[in-house]
């Protein structure tokens, strides 16, 4: 049950806390167990999405709409996207070097590297695997939005647990 002191926290702080770390908004309201269950499950879902589809499933530049949903999980999505973009640059340099060595364009070089199982910096996920991984991460983000709205509702209405 949220304590009166916890309920006195301004709702913007609760909302931002819930975005920065899933479940923290509820924890600040004195509902630590609820915050732990909700936040823990959403983080597990997000990480599972990354493990299923690879870092490729979080892409602010090529999948902007999906990223809009994924971004609601908090800074974790932006960290994953940053890592993805850096790996993209590294892979581009790797593919360019291979293309130069074999006199191929970038697209042909990447295709040949994939077909011949060359060790790439990271592998792009395609098809169902990419869909499932992207969905896991996006659902985690959207569910966190639900959690933030619930925490804000409890903070403003002073609801009992």
């Amino acid at each position: 049950m949220p304590t009166p002191a916890a309920r006195s926290k301004p709702w913007p702080i609760i909302a931002v806390a819930g975005w920065v770390l899933p479940g923290l908004g509820h924890a600040l309201l004195g509902e630590g167990r609820r915050g732990l269950v909700v936040g823990g499950m959403m983080l597990i879902l997000f990480i599972a999405g990354l493990l299923i589809g690879g870092i490729d499933v979080v892409d602010r530049e090529r999948d902007t709409l999906w990223f809009a949903g994924q971004a609601m999980i908090g800074p974790a999505a932006f960290i994953a996207d940053y890592a993805h973009q850096r790996l993209d640059e590294k892979r581009d340099r790797q593919v360019d070097a291979y293309g130069t060595q074999h006199n191929l364009g970038q697209h042909e070089a990447l295709t040949q590297m994939v077909r011949t199982d060359q060790p790439l910096v990271y592998r792009t996920s395609v098809g169902r695997v990419n869909e499932i991984g992207t969905l896991y991460c996006a659902i985690a983000g959207v569910m966190n939005l639900l959690a933030i709205l619930d925490a804000v509702g409890r903070a403003t209405a002073g609801r009992k647990a």
């Binding site: 959403m42 990354l50 299923i52 690879g54 870092i55 990271y122 169902r128 569910m143 009992k160």
Partner: protein, 92 residues
Amino acid sequence: MMYELSTSSLEPQAASLVLAAWRPLLDPLDLHHPWHAIALLVPLVVAIAVVYKALKLPSLQRLVGETARLSFYIVALMAMAAAILWFVVEIV
């Protein structure tokens, strides 16, 4: 589970080499059969049910039972919808 999903047609030694080659976060899982994707929807449904019930229940004491019930309903409804759509596409 990784062995069953991606290497069922290989000898165990080759399968272990394939498993060792997977780099977490850098490589996607090796899932090509349609049933793999369907199987991965079940944990997603359970996670959604856990979060939803954890937010809605006044007390978390009945969380496990309520989550199991909601998960069953969602999966059952999805299966029914799939059956109806299959019937419409294949038969009608």
